[in-house]
């Protein structure tokens, strides 16, 4: 066994993810920021915009759910662990910073996927049918990775106050919702809105979900998937690189 080799580090990242699942899934702040917040946000919009069809809104619900749930845990784990002194424990274990970040991301991703699947079933229960299942699964997987990496990225500034990255993530998530074609179809966006939408990974995810449910889409599917994959790659690499640099400052 080579402890520094990739297979071993992946196994250890999984151990960290399991620990996160045990410790953080049931945290109050995770439930509030991850589930209650998007539910209310969505209900508020839903009741206020009767003119939009259900078939348009459900993909928006799926998108909102994944964005909020996949970023519910990842921003705060480092501060929680720093505050309880357990980060020092991890730092002295034979795991790389990348493996720690990956483990936290995995816990975040699974949480996001779990809750998001519920919203997909809600859509099915409300009469939508899943026309492109594979596309749906691939997009949820990719976007969950992408969003959880964004969450980790927000945790880069060292702080032992878990609410700081959580607030920061809200500040980013709300604008994202409005520029990503969730409530306002991309077709109806002004030009500058469209320019912003192009830089939001949520745009491509919502577009893909809409395609999977009702076969309408703004961008070609391949563009959507490539853009999402590119965002995921950049954010994941970025967060790992930055965390490696800031890790000693937390200890």
């Amino acid at each position: 066994m080579n402890p520094a080799g990739l297979p071993e580090q992946l196994r250890r990242a999984w151990a960290i993810a399991k620990k996160d699942i045990r410790l953080y899934y049931a945290k109050n702040s995770v439930l509030v920021f991850g589930i209650l917040m998007p539910v209310f946000l969505f209900l508020a919009f839903f009741t206020g915009s009767r003119q939009l069809p259900l078939a348009f809104l459900i993909p928006g619900l799926v998108g909102t759910a994944l964005l909020f749930t996949a970023t519910a845990i990842s921003p705060a784990i480092f501060s929680w662990e720093g505050r309880h002194g357990t980060l020092e424990r991890l730092a002295s274990c034979p795991v790389t910073t990348e493996a720690i970040v990956l483990g936290d991301m995995i816990a975040s991703i699974l949480y996001g996927i779990g809750i998001t699947l519920i919203t997909v079933f809600i859509g099915l229960a409300l009469g939508l049918s899943l026309l492109h299942g594979i596309t749906m699964i691939v997009s949820i997987l990719l976007a969950a990775c992408c969003f959880s990496a964004i969450g980790m990225l927000l945790a880069v500034p060292p702080t032992s106050e878990p609410s700081t990255p959580m607030m920061l993530s809200l500040l980013i998530k709300f604008p994202l919702i409005f520029i990503s074609g969730i409530f306002i179809p991309l077709e109806q966006m002004p030009g500058w809105g469209l320019v912003l939408a192009v830089f939001s990974p949520l745009t491509y995810f919502t577009d893909l979900v809409r395609y999977s449910f009702i076969e309408t889409h703004y961008f070609p599917v391949l563009i959507d998937i490539s853009a999402l994959a590119l965002f995921t790659l950049v954010f994941t690499a970025g967060t790992m690189y930055l965390h490696k640099r800031t890790m000693p400052k937390r200890l």
Binding site: M1, R11, A15, L23, S92, P94
Partner: protein
């Protein structure tokens, strides 16, 4: 003897203050190395650099043959750490904490379970294994953290004040365990404030002050090194003449204290020999004979006093 830890010019700067200032030392295979120093001297900072938790600003360290900067995982895989601040996951049970360590060190599940049971039994925690650590007392937490550090059977163990704030029972349990492990070949790097522990346990101690190593030697040698003059207390079963004692080779001073004589000497070894000869010649049996060496406390205070060389 091979060096298990080789630190050279380790330095850590926090803002304007230099916490650790070009420290160099070796820890040898199989020894218990005591790392002593007053509060804020830089012990924890040094330990954290050696264990790869924080990077040094200058210098380097090799631990178990691996450079801690360039091959941290390889080095960490082979040593265990009991950090200064207690840090098991309090929302997990003792058992879950240990299993997590097993996975992080790549110990097979069955072996981790066997070893955990063993350690928890020795440390008196086996009955509480399925209780959340939150409900543990300080001493129990500390014992659990020791178990977590030992799960993967490391060849080298770092401990940063493992017994601070613990009662006699927990302290003795931990120290006994360290001694046993050392007998079985584990090298131990122990940071402590307790001179008594350091004195009894350590083969060598290093004393750090203001981020610099001021002395490094066996406790006995440190103690005797600080005082050129030694004091020997002796009493006989009959009266002897003070002048005769003063005339013995090596004796530089004689003082009568109660029924004892207190002799000062530069070489205590020579004086003890001549006292034995004196006793035989004068048919005066020695009742008590004490060498009053300075304690490690004295040595420590002397060496860490501000302004001393």
């Amino acid at each position: 003897m091979t060096a298990v830890i080789h630190a050279s010019d380790l330095t850590k700067v926090f803002g304007k203050s230099t916490a650790v200032d070009h420290i160099s030392f070796d820890v040898r295979q199989g020894e218990i190395f005591g790392f002593l120093g007053p509060n804020g001297a830089g012990k924890t900072t040094t330990t954290r650099m050696l264990t790869g938790v924080i990077p040094p600003d200058d210098g380097s360290a090799t631990v178990l043959g691996y450079d801690i900067r360039s091959e941290p995982v390889q080095a960490k895989q082979r040593f265990g750490v009991v950090p200064e601040t207690s840090n098991a996951y309090t929302d997990l049970t003792a058992w879950q904490n240990l299993m997590l360590m097993g996975e992080l060190y790549g110990v097979a599940r069955a072996q981790a379970a066997r070893r955990s049971s063993e350690l928890l039994t020795v440390l008196g925690l086996i009955d509480r294994r399925d209780q959340k650590v939150q409900a543990y007392s300080k001493g129990m937490k500390q014992r659990l953290i020791l178990a977590m550090a030992l799960l993967h059977e490391p060849k080298l163990l770092f401990l940063d004040e493992p017994t601070s704030g613990l009662d006699v029972q927990s302290t003795q349990m931990i120290l006994a365990m360290l001694r046993d492990m050392n007998r079985d070949g584990t090298t131990i790097f122990l940071t402590t404030h307790n001179m008594e522990d350091a004195n009894r346990l350590c083969h060598r101690v290093g004393i750090i002050r203001n981020g610099r190593m001021v002395a490094i030697d066996a406790p006995e040698k440190l103690k005797t090194a600080i005082d050129r003059v030694h004091t020997i207390e002796v009493s006989f079963d009959r009266e002897v003449a003070g002048d005769a004692l003063a005339a013995l080779p090596g004796v530089t001073g004689v003082k009568r204290i109660g029924d004892k004589w207190q002799l000062t000497a530069e070489k205590q070894d020579a004086v003890i020999l001549s006292l034995a000869a004196f006793s035989q010649q004068n048919h005066a049996a020695i009742v008590t004979l004490n060498t009053l060496v300075p304690s490690l406390d004295d040595a420590f205070l002397r060496l860490t006093r501000e302004g001393s060389p």
